[in-house]
Assembly symmetry: C2
Homo-oligomer: 352 residues x 2
């Protein structure tokens, strides 16, 4: 993450220099389309303990259901950061948001953003942050100090979510699995590699923004050595079969050194998203390729199970798809959005 | 490449914004160890038409054999850039070089550097370049405007050198193959992906310095669509089996969409350089993995042959190693440093 810390180095960041300033006040701007507030909804659903309320400006018609409040009240309730929970086409920060963002800084909040536009490129924000000693944190920017991967084995267990494509449930699956393991009393952490995941976790590395030479090294840094029984559940990115992003997937695989992986798949998809000439790989192909490449840094790597995104299917169709997939591959198959026995069996496989 | 162009945007770069200002005057500083002048020797050997002479300061005891001259004479002979052809441990630019570098700028030369230290971070150089309208070019910095890979097939043929490891002849092989093809009257270009290669070619992209998301896109940009019979010979990087750099190799493979590849190997090496716990993969494993991954973006990909770095072997041993390798794999095997029939058969395979 890029942390502009004016006058007060370290302000607003955690002890390790990578934690975000939660709890957050979720900023919704003047959003009128629920789809553009996905980040805020993700925070509400996955990190309710990190959210004290929501804040919007006149014109907004979307709400997360959290208590509406202005920055001073949020600060009084313990908030440390204003998190921009809304996106618009282009990822720009409109002028109409500026008074609200400045109010947040004046009230003592840092600002956390995943927008394309970098916060520090707005002179009004930069000047106010400098004057007030507040931080402007762009989660799309990797932290400093990432090293080349060592390839050295490390203690602790790691699970990586991989996929037949982008955008079909790797973050959701990793969140659900880490939460499920924690519910069973297992020491587990979700390790975030994309901007929404980083906001939810409060830390992480936007892996696709790392310089190529340091990609595997960033993945090593993200899931460091831990107690032998501790489990890091690492949010996957892209797909080894993606014509644009496979390198990101491979660097993350090599650096994570996962003991096991879960293949995420959407049975309704037939081609790589945005690349109609590229047929979707089979789950089998992804398992074989992930093992073939992953064993470079962890020879014991194996597939723990399958996460199917069955959002396009009825309950009956979903059950049939999960049963068929599980039978065919002799592996647990579950949709984390449909909790129950199947998901518990997937968790069983993760700790077997 | 990072081009600081003070006051005169575009100065010192070619029409496409990526060509370096050759011919060069090779700067040797005060070098006393031939090993530290590797870049200058590489330029002399592979791009003699791009070098007008050499320039060193008192204390230097190493020479490339090119005519010694000061910057004004080099300019009179057509030089456009001073190329720092010497490295020292740490890649720093010592104060003792500064008068020579400033003399170059004053004489009308741009400066080209592959050092770790960025030229523009030296106030004296930055100020002089700004005042004189000269460029300070760091070839370790990728160009702007790299896009995400499209994955769309493109015209022209491409050959990629791949390897069982780093630093065993991928650049040398690509240079030798492109020169060999040109000698046969074939339209071929060497496409550089590392700093020395970029200086030799006069253009290129330092692929390992590209942001991960744009890695395959950079490789697409590096070897653009060309005439159907034109051949781009792309300098490979790393190895698909390297614990730190495999992602770089994969992004380069996917974006290059090579029709064929040459596996570079050093028979004296038993482990990945700097990673003794990682055994060197076999040539066979590299062929299988390169085909398995490369066919994502070019289903017709195949191995054209093997380039053995036999520098540690006697002539007889080298011949035996080449014959054994060729027999075992049923592919041409040659050491480009030992020209002859074997190398010609490798070229035959590249155009079959």
């Amino acid at each position: 993450m890029s942390v502009l810390i004016a006058e007060r180095p370290g302000a607003g960041t955690g002890e390790d220099g990578t934690s975000l300033p939660f709890p957050y006040l979720l900023f919704l701007g003047d959003v009128t389309e629920a789809g553009f507030a996905k980040t805020a909804f993700g925070l509400r659903d996955w990190a309710p303990d990190k959210c004290v309320g929501e804040f919007s400006i006149p014109g907004a018609s979307v709400s997360t259901g959290l208590a509406p409040m202005r920055p001073p009240e949020a600060v009084a309730r313990g908030a440390r950061g204003l998190l921009i929970g809304v996106a618009n086409p282009g990822g720009v920060i409109p002028d109409t948001w500026m008074p609200a963002l400045l109010e947040a800084l004046e009230s003592g909040l840092d600002i956390v953003s995943g927008m394309h536009a970098m916060l520090a490129t707005f002179p009004a924000l930069r000047d106010a942050a400098a004057r007030l000693g507040r931080s402007l944190i762009d989660v799309r920017t990797p932290p400093a100090g990432i090293r080349v991967a060592s390839g050295t084995p490390r203690s602790g267990k790691r699970i990586l979510t991989v996929g037949t494509d982008c955008a079909l449930g790797k973050k959701y699956t990793a969140l659900a699995v880490s939460a499920g393991l924690q519910r069973r009393g297992i020491a587990a952490d979700f390790r975030a590699t994309g901007q929404t995941g980083i906001m939810i976790a409060g830390s992480g590395i936007p892996i696709d923004a790392v310089i190529s030479d340091f990609l595997a090294g960033a993945a090593e840094m993200l899931s460091p050595a831990a107690d032998p029984e501790h489990i890091d559940v690492v949010e996957g990115q892209g797909s080894l079969f993606h014509p644009s992003y496979a390198a990101v997937s491979l660097g993350l695989l090599h650096g994570s050194q996962p003991d096991g992986f879960i293949v995420c798949h959407d049975p309704s998809r037939t081609a790589i998203l945005g690349h109609p000439a590229y047929p979707l790989p089979s789950i089998e192909a992804v398992i074989l390729q992930t093992v073939a490449l992953g064993r470079t840094t962890n020879p014991a790597i194996r597939c723990y199970g399958i996460s199917l995104n069955t959002s396009s299917l009825s309950a009956d169709e979903a059950e049939r798809a999960l049963e068929d997939t599980s039978q065919r591959l002799a592996l647990p198959a579950a949709d984390p959005m449909r909790p129950g026995d199947r998901f518990e069996r997937l968790l069983d496989a993760c700790i077997a």
